[in-house]
Every structure is written in structure tokens, then in C-alpha cells.
Symmetry: C2
Subunit: 226 residues, 2 copies
Amino acid sequence: MPEFATLEYENLNSVVYAALCDALMQGRFQPGDRLKIRDLAEQFGTSVTPIRDAILRLANDEAITFRSPRDIRIAGLSEARYREIRAIRVRLEGLAAETAAQVATSADILALEQILRENEQAIADGDRLKGTQLNQAFHFMLPQIAGLPVLTTILRRLWLQMGPHISDAYLAGGRAMIDHHYPVVEALKRHDSPAASMAIVDDILLGGKPILDRIAHGEEREARRA
Amino acid sequence: MPEFATLEYENLNSVVYAALCDALMQGRFQPGDRLKIRDLAEQFGTSVTPIRDAILRLANDEAITFRSPRDIRIAGLSEARYREIRAIRVRLEGLAAETAAQVATSADILALEQILRENEQAIADGDRLKGTQLNQAFHFMLPQIAGLPVLTTILRRLWLQMGPHISDAYLAGGRAMIDHHYPVVEALKRHDSPAASMAIVDDILLGGKPILDRIAHGEEREARRA
DNA sequence: ACGTCAAAAAAGATGCATCAAGTATCTTGT
DNA sequence: ACAAGATACTTGATGCATCTTTTTTGACGT
């Protein structure tokens, strides 16, 4: 269960926020989906206040947008914006991988290898949701090993924005999604920072290719429709 | 007047959020300062709801923390956390400078030089507040020239966290704060990406030295007190 | 004077009523 | 059958009442 709460104590709004973050990162929302505060309040069994709070935080994260004062929707993602996010991830996850390579313990390596094994199994089972989650878990392990909490928060926010756009791309990606994870672990074992950085960059650029294609095609389709 | 609103239309909560962001970035709050929703509501002449909304967004930005359910304070900044923010800035502002160097127009260069001139004047006048603002304006110009809105948002959030900690450091820094800005502009003129990146990195690491010292000394003092 | 404990005030969390603006629906006249 | 206007509904924004927990305060005993 991911720990998304910025607040130190438990709040209804944090519970709702965490649940919506989960849903977003698992691709359970589609871009453009409309959210209604009263509907969510009923689903969560709370009043509208904690829902408003959570939605406001997600809007602050730019994961959802207020298209008009009464029209709350899952944010879209232009190709340019996705490319920017990718460029930022290259820099930041590169930093995380370099730092992680310097400080990784054997316990860290074992945890990464465990994730890889489970990810292989999920792909073999055709379990798309689990595959997505384990891929994310791998990426978030690096800043955690590196001891970089600010970086983790930034990446989480970027993933919230990507979440609704990666769901279908995973099937297209298939095994290619984790192929580049193995060299990362090997580099961490050798405490080889440059190699770790290069490997994670490869993963972001090559492994993420199907996602970019999907977003680009989506824009094209939309342009033709107009 | 900075444009902080994530929301597209004007809201009381956006107005409050923008005002508090401004205050934070100008160092008008000290770390550990306590905020009271009802007091702020009176100051802004609104009910508590828009204030709660704005504070929730700032908490989401990790600029303020809820130490306990009824104790809202300006966030502290450990030395480790400041070093992490600095490392992230090196990567991200490096990316912004590289990109800006590739696309900068002569109008962009003129705007940067204008900021530098005003910053010189502010330092000559001993106007600490204006100096801080113009230094920030320079740094935010690079991602703007580069056309990287996501990057701008991330940097803004980091600056919200640094804001309360850089106020006094500026006097100590003095002219050194903008010395490294000139090579940045020169590099942009030559469309020299590596030089632009190196220059801004120098600025972050060397120009920011007094801030790090101040935070480190503050921690030391606190440790002695305990 | 000082510490302790209880009463009171403070303060955020939650729920809810109301408002305004936008949207859908229904009626009515041709 | 259709269009136009009016009516009702939807929905987020704002304000506010209440609840619970924390903090302050002050009285009392030592």
C-alpha cells in the first residue's frame, strides 16, 4: 500500500487522496474522464469536504484539471508535455541511479531482484495491472535506495500525470518494459554509477517508446477528428 | 506579479495561494512560523474555506507542514534536504539552460540582460527583497525561454521550500549572487549549451554557498541547544 | 513560588446549507 | 414536428455550525 500522505497524521482527505493517486497510477482513469465531487463523496462514504480537499491536491499536482468552474477532469497529456516529462525523468532518475549505485547494500539488490522476478511472473501471467505496479515499484526503489525523498515526491507527481496514459501501452510494450531493468541491477552490484545511469536512461527512452507512440497517435487522431 | 494559479479561472483559493506563495518566495515567513486559518481568513477578508484550500495546496507542495492536527507551520529544511534540492536543481536547471541555449532569441537575451541590470541596481541600493526577486526571476527565465512548463512548476515548488531559508543569506552573498549569471547569458548568446549548463551549475553551487552555510549553522546551533 | 489539574478557549476537521452559473428538460406556440 | 423560451436540475464555491482534540489559563494546594 503506497504511502502518499504528505500529512503526518491520518485524515479523511489523505485517505481519499491516496486512493485517487492509486487509481491514477494504475491507469484506472482515462484522460478526460469527469469527476464529480458529490459522486465521489457517496463512493467514499464521506461528506464533500474531504473529497474537495483531495481533488484540490490532485489539481495542484496537475494530475486533474478544472476545465471550467464546474467541470473537473483527468488531465490530458500533449506529446510535447510527455517529451518534457521524459527529459526530466532522464535527469532525475539518472541522478537517483547514480546515487543508488554508490550506496546500495546487498539487501537493496535482493529487493530489486525480487521485484524483477515478480514482474517476470506478472508478464508471463498477462497480468497488466500487476506488471504496471511492479514496473513503478522498481523505478521508485532507486530514489528510495539513494535516500532522496524530494526526488521521490517529484517523480510521484510526474507518474500521476502519466498514469492515465500508460495503461494500454503496456501490452504493446510487453517484456521490453523490464529488459532494461537488469543492467540497472548489475550496475548497482558493481557500484558503477555511470552504467546505472545509462541503463535507467535506456529504460526510460526505449522502454517508454510505446507510450510516446500511443500519445502521439492519440493526438493525431484527435487532430483528424477536428 | 507571478502567476501561480494551477486553476484556469480565478478563485478565492487561488488568490490566497498566490499571495502566500509570493510571501514564501520573498522570505516573509520564517521556518517554524505558525499559521492560523482563522487569522488568515480575517487578513484576507474571506471565510476559512478558501484559506484551508490554499494551505492544503501549500502542504501538498511541502512548503508548510502539519506538525500535529492543529499546528500548521512553515516547513523546516534540514541540511541533507537542502543538499538534495540543490542536486536536483543542478540537473533540472542544467537541462533548462541547455535547452534555452539552443532556442534563445535576441529578445530573450535582452530580457535577461535587463534583469541583470536591475539586479545590479538593487544590490547597489542594498535592496535585499528586490535582489532576491530578480535573482529568482533570472532563474525562472531559463525554463521559460526553453519552453519547459513542467520543469518550471517543479522549480517553483523547490523555491517555495527554500524561500523561508534564503532571506538573510542574501546579504552575506552580496554580489556573488549574480556573478555567475553573466557567463550564462554569454553562453546563450553563442548557443553554447554545455557552457550554459556549466555556468548555471556554478551559480547554484557557488552562489548558493552562503545559504548552505546558514542552514548548516542553524542545525548545529539547534543541536547544541538540545 | 512552584507544580498540578481542571475548566475554558482555540483551532483544525468534517458536514452541510446556500449560492450562482451552467446544463438539461419540458412546455408552448406556430 | 420544431424551435424558443422558461423551468428545473446539476454542480462547484463559499460560508458557517459543530465536533473533537489540543493548548492555554488560572485557581488551588503544597
